[in-house]
Subunit: 331 residues, 2 copies
Amino acid sequence: LPQLLPLLLRTIRRHTLLPAGTRVLVALSGGSDSVALTLLLLEAAPRIPFEVAALAHFNHRLRETAARDETFCRDLASRLGLPIRVTAEDVREYAAAERLTIEDAARRLRYDFLRREAQELGATRIAVGHTQDDQAETFLLKLVRGAGATGLGAIYPRRDQIVRPLLDVTRAELRQYLASRDVSWVEDETNEVLDTPRNRLRHVVLPELVRTYGGDVRRSLARAAELIREDGEFLDELARTVFARVAVCSPGTVEIDARRLRAEPLPVRRRVLLHALRAAAGGREAGFTHVQLAMDVLTGEAAAADVPGGRLELRRGTLVLRLRTPDVASG
Amino acid sequence: LPQLLPLLLRTIRRHTLLPAGTRVLVALSGGSDSVALTLLLLEAAPRIPFEVAALAHFNHRLRETAARDETFCRDLASRLGLPIRVTAEDVREYAAAERLTIEDAARRLRYDFLRREAQELGATRIAVGHTQDDQAETFLLKLVRGAGATGLGAIYPRRDQIVRPLLDVTRAELRQYLASRDVSWVEDETNEVLDTPRNRLRHVVLPELVRTYGGDVRRSLARAAELIREDGEFLDELARTVFARVAVCSPGTVEIDARRLRAEPLPVRRRVLLHALRAAAGGREAGFTHVQLAMDVLTGEAAAADVPGGRLELRRGTLVLRLRTPDVASG
């Protein structure tokens, strides 16, 4: 059995997930990941030290087993002597009203609930149970969906209040840990169904990769995702600085000094263009293909190009992006 | 049918694969990729212009069909009015003698042959038939094998003399192109066997991903690989500059100014350490895990660490890498 606590403490310290004195709210679905997260955080708490303020369970009312899951979570909290916050919301109704997928609707309602409860409890961090498995799956999903120029990297260990202390631990390790402590969990049957892309990845593609390449496939993918995210963050930061230096934004137009942009290295050049394109695109998608079009205009290979929300031209050494909806130019 | 010629010309121009006036030797196995490569290069030649100097066929004598493939290639060359160079070598014997896998032995002999012939013919470029499919497969292979800190990116469109003009074209597109021109090719039956990791990827994993996500999976993977390679090249270059500034190499030792290295952004820091570790490692593998160890010594989290070929310590603000085999320090 690998020592999970040192691994967890290392992740917590490396990314400053839970600074000393923090009060943390733990999201508990009742599945193996979040049950293990709860127990491991209780073990880790005196070492930093931080405080587990409460557990929070979101009852999405989507399956018959939802009531069973809620009961399981309430029982676990009472056995651990921890307060638990519970809400039950109609995800299906919300999804229909907001025209979201069930998955997106559930995510939004769940995070809203967690933030509300955290604020009430004076908790500055919310811990969620994403594992190295989730990391690997999400990365592969992004790759095959063509996340392209950016957004390719890993799930963040921390994004504002939300922290993910289990990102360096596999689901199998967590289940071994729970089994060794005789702690049970509830199974989420929807995870077993093969009708969503993520589940096909989890139950068909990844096992096939493990059969061919051995057990470290998930770890390799998760690490690659992390490295790519770190590289990307640095390059994005660099590109933001360059953008500020070479671009002039006015209502309806972004003007970029073409000569200066051409002098930048390719990864920065791409990102500066993507930044400009995204400002023009408003809510629309701007990605790899549009960056390629913009590069062609920049080099003079193309005279002009239509991009989401606007049109791009090269005029006497200036790359001009004229927007069709002038009011988003300032973005 | 997509227009392959413009796509090919774009790839050739973008990466300066075949500058005007170049004489190129085309590697021809007889498979669909290399047959299409030959025909497309003949179409492209007057546009740049460059010259197809000859075809070159390597008979690896590995299968009963090897003689059939050679005959096919000789026939094609004579129909196209092109000279063809052929060699037959005993790959199995060479692999045994050099203790290489059959795949590695075949690759080495084939490229040696191509370089020899190119030199004799006064050809400065050798075109090989790698496609977007190969790009996607190679990238996935590297990912699941944990290529880690570096070496994650794509196949290079050009590496010294070797050029790969088909990297932006899929195998399916090439076969459509050949079919539309009534040109045949030979099938390489070994590609159909599921006993190599690459073939399992090609025939099991990628088709499953296509079933789940649609036909653009290969393109998405190939593009991601390209972007990651470009980002990596730039960051490697940056790290080399920083290494030269913060490191002092003497026989048996690399000394790095820890304070100055800590001030560098994470992606550069990682690569500087990898650079130092590789110098120490000689031929041995230095990768993600060792960089992590080195990072721990740099931050003071660990007092020292054993790394391939040496030992790493922090001494009064200097990260000292002492080699066990002093003569590789200058590398």
